[in-house]
Amino acid sequence: MTVLQVVALLVVAIAGTATVAVRNPARQVIVASFHGLALTIMFFVYAAPDVALSQLTVSTIAVPIMALLALAKLRRQGEDE
Amino acid sequence: MLTSLVVLVPILSATALAAASPFLPGRRGISAVAAVAGCAGLTAILLARTGTYTVTWFAGWHPRGDAAIGIAFAVDGIGAGLALFVGALGVVALVLSARLVQAETLLFDALAVLFVAAMVGFCLSGDIFNMFVFFELMSVSAYILVGYEVRQRAPLEGSLTFAVTNTVGSILLLFGIGLLYNKTGALNLAQIGRALEHGPLDLGVVVAFALITVGLLVKAGVVPFHLWMADAYAVAPTPICILLAGAFSELGLYAVFRILWTAFGGAFAGQEDALRAVFVGAGALTGVVGAAMCLLQHHLKRMLAFATIAQVGMFLVGLGLLTADGTAGAAVWVVGDGLVKAALFALVAVVQHREGKVTEAALHGRARDLWPLGLAFAFGALTIASVPPTGSFLGRSIVEDAALKLDGYRWVPALLAVVTAVVGGALLRAAARVFAGWGQRAPDDPYAEDRDAQDEPDERDGGADRADPFLWVPAVLLLGAAVVWGVLPGLRDSVAGAAAAFVDTDAYAAAVLDGAHHAVHAPTIHPPSITGYLYAAGSVAGALAIGAAGIAGLGGRLPRAVRATADGARALHSGRPTDYVAWLAAGATALTGVLALVLT
């Protein structure tokens, strides 16, 4: 196991824990994206560039956009009430 | 060729319907029914032409040596039979949905067809990851179909708890698949079986099996993974309830035992006693909890949902006996009960369609003029209590015979009798109150205060005085089919053969990996014995007694401790996804721990 792998794995574990621990959803979306980026790096290190690219598109484009749009809707709802 | 068409035809139909939907608003047709009927027809031909096993390698990648690199559909009698049953229920569901579901686009039809296609593919697949994919496909379609009536609170919540718990379940399933791949380097069930055959039975294998089982039992609704099920099944559109209660849960059990026999058959050889105790114990617990909760309900569809949980427990007992005849009995029973439950859901829909309500209290005596349908409902309730000569009776008596052959399981017939009697009794009570107005009005349910208000526009309000023949004719036909299923000539022999092929690890592996045909020894299954009739008479009498006691309002006079326990049990079904996931974690830990203890 290389140093790079160890570091990548530890970052993934820490980012995952942080995603759970952050309770404010808007901030959590950012942390979750970071967790996704950490996973992307880990996949590259583990010789899986295809999966890494998928994870990159999912965690930096698809999920944040969806989550932020959902949160925007929820916030609007709050304003209306 | 035929095998792949069975899934390609409904998939193509579903996508075509969806592609047309934006341009044909409001158009409903028989195209979806035709698609599912076509799928069922092809499955019937496949079943008829399947000797012992039919193996198809997609994209033509046959195994080389012992290494399977492609995906195979490995069809046997049980798999194809179950697929045919799914297709048949799908036709019924789509016919009923013409009346019961207000759809403005073809998207509902498309998703329902896709749901059926996924279940059929799941029954036929012989590759564990491919099973996971079909499992996810049927789950995702089901989440949407359950939440279809988004304007109301209950379906939305039902869909959400369903989606959250089942997603966690499928993560555990996939984790188990990962562990198994690590051990065996294989995804094909037969190849996994060969790889595990000679290896030591270590913790890795046991934990992999435990996680896979947990993931699938969440779908089946085995206690304590059942909590989401009543919530989702009680609120889905009735046609979807028929598919969910009749087939979806049972597919979870099917997969547990498909994987157990084909992939772990060699590894667990010699450990049958321990495994049997675990499975029959879980089944018994599920049966008892499901039946008790069914008795406590006053919401008709929720009652049927808990009846399904109780039945899943009984099927698990039958399959968990780990013999060919136990498997055969469970298979017959699944179909028999599935037909009856579909009929009962349709009859509830007749009343709900007309009155716009679904609780005993609100419907008290409201359906007096529909007394013939009340008789049909009562007959259905008695069938669940396995009145001869229905398919439920035949299946149950085969399971009983199988249990009596095993030391230490002579109590199983009594358990089956009690559970079926309680479920049947609860349904009889509801029938008497709704269709005859007998006895006291049911108490207002403290846990379902706002339910009637919410359910008001659940199904389209016909406003007609008479019952809709579009709904009750299929129901009566289904009840007829349930009776015919019990007396179908030659059924016992063919199911015995199919069950023997289902549990034969070596013959399956030879057929899949070597293309070789091994003879399979089918057990002889005798017609129901006198004991079988006696137990059936016992549970029918019990059901009548429980029904009568319920009408007389004896439930309120039970000792305080019993009522407190019942209230406690109901409070656990809290409707909160967070609680449900906590229970899931508890169940997963318990099952993994127990299996690790008894198997290693």
Partner: protein, 114 residues
């Protein structure tokens, strides 16, 4: 071995997050953390240190070079897509729940009880 521990850790932490969640969007993102445990597990299973741990892409490699297991990578690829779609569905349900009854706290749900 560390990879396996991290996979198990993500699984456990994710479930703890789901169970203690007080906001549905938070709950959905906790599910994605739980899901990521399976990616880590699968890729760790497929990775081999013998040879050089090369990616299974022969654009610049001579055929026959030892590479890591491509099958688990294909499985993970499928898994990533499935996870993204389930996330989308759950978020849509969350938006509807908020719209219909003005709450995003999973503990306030429970129209169906008992």
């Amino acid at each position: 071995m560390l990879a396996y521990v991290v996979a198990v850790w993500l699984l456990v932490v994710g479930i703890v997050g789901i169970v203690t969640s007080r906001h549905l969007v938070h709950l959905v993102l906790c599910i994605t953390v739980t899901q990521s445990s399976t990616y880590v597990l699968l890729l760790a299973v497929g990775f081999r240190e013998n040879g050089t741990g090369r990616a299974p892409i022969f654009a610049d490699l001579p055929p026959g070079t030892p590479v890591v297991d491509p099958i688990v990578q294909a499985l993970t690829l499928t898994d990533v897509v499935v996870e993204a779609t389930v996330t989308a569905l759950l978020l849509a349900l969350t938006v509807q729940v908020a719209k219909r009854f003005g709450t995003v706290d999973p503990d306030e749900l429970g129209a169906l009880r008992g």
